[in-house]
Amino acid sequence: MKSLMKSAALLLCLGAPAMADDMMAMMQNTTVGPLTLSDGFAHATLPNQPVAGGFLTITNAGEAADTLIAAQSDIAGVMQIHEMAMLDDTMVMRELEGGVVIPAGGAAILKPGSIHLMFMQLKEPLVDGENVTVTVTFEQAGEVALTLPVRKKMHDGHGMSHDGDS
């Protein structure tokens, strides 16, 4: 687990227009219906890498479950919801055709090495430090647009921590 300070630093400003005057509005989350979307980011791409992962946490304060069923972005010809896993040193990845359920009173965490939004047919690279806009669709709560900061993958050099471990 990361320190609180580090976690706070990694929280992002999820497009809150009312807070536009506050450039340091790092803790602002996006809400849609009873859902709160937080901790979103996307990974920067290597040269000629036509795909990328997008990640976020969805918390459901409602009394009914909801399902993340789709995502889209102008930067990607196709976006899908995927789950990857390592099975005996083999990387496997599958499309979650039924989407991701966010249980009532619970949360779904999309993170590296697990469930992710998959940017495919990228029209331009995802560049560290820039933002990418994604619209996600929930079965009940409907659509909401998010601004995900693009981050370089952090590698476990000495003195660094990995961003996939939170």
Binding site: H82, E83, T90
Partner: protein
């Protein structure tokens, strides 16, 4: 998340039979004479350095061999980034270390695409070629890969994510696992290069 759990279990079942075949290939790791044969076989591919890539390419200098593909969202970019960290940490010791990134997706990964994909990593060479030659190389290196269809006419590749180390005589040295602890990876590399 029961639904996603079910799916990943289903995925596990899907690969299980193929992984068993792959494990059967891995069994010979136990026999020393077969360990020495890892990477040896009849395959003829082309590197983004313009040189052929065959079993003979493993000789002459120590090598890192990794199989992957450019449509890989995470494991391949992460591993290439890890290799960059190893190079930084090892400094001059890694001067002669060659990095071969062999595609498991030759239909999409042309030499031109692969060249820039790995070009930023010092000493890295992308390797591609005919489908049949790629499969022959996978067999020689005991690498599992499988094409998985997705919607929208897309597909992905399940694939082994082990980094394979070879000494300057082209003999298999040791594997490094995906996201293996940095110090363990570095100690393997220092023993390889020492």
């Amino acid at each position: 998340m029961p639904r996603s759990l079910r799916i990943i279990i289903a995925a596990g079942a899907l690969v299980a039979s193929a992984v068993l075949v792959w494990l059967a290939w891995l069994q010979p790791y136990l026999a020393e004479e077969d360990v020495l044969k890892l990477g040896q076989g009849e395959y003829s591919l082309m590197g983004t350095d313009g040189q052929p890539f065959t079993q003979a390419s493993l000789q002459g200098a120590p090598s890192v061999v990794f199989f992957g593909f450019t449509h890989c969202p995470e494991v391949c970019p992460t591993t290439l980034g890890d290799i960059a960290v190893w190079q930084e940490e090892l400094g001059d010791v890694a001067r002669d270390l060659r990095i071969f990134f062999v595609t498991v997706d030759p239909a999409r990964d042309t030499a031109e695409l692969l060249g820039d994909y790995v070009g930023w990593l010092p000493g890295a060479i992308g390797v591609t070629g005919d489908e049949a030659e790629i499969r022959a190389a996978e067999k020689a290196f005991r690498i599992y890969s499988r094409k998985i269809p997705l919607s929208d006419g897309e597909y992905t590749m399940d694939h082994s994510a082990l980094v394979l180390l070879f000494d300057e005589n082209g003999h298999f040295f040791e594997p490094i696992g995906y996201q293996e602890d940095l110090d363990r990876a570095l100690s393997k590399l220092r023993r390889l290069l020492g």
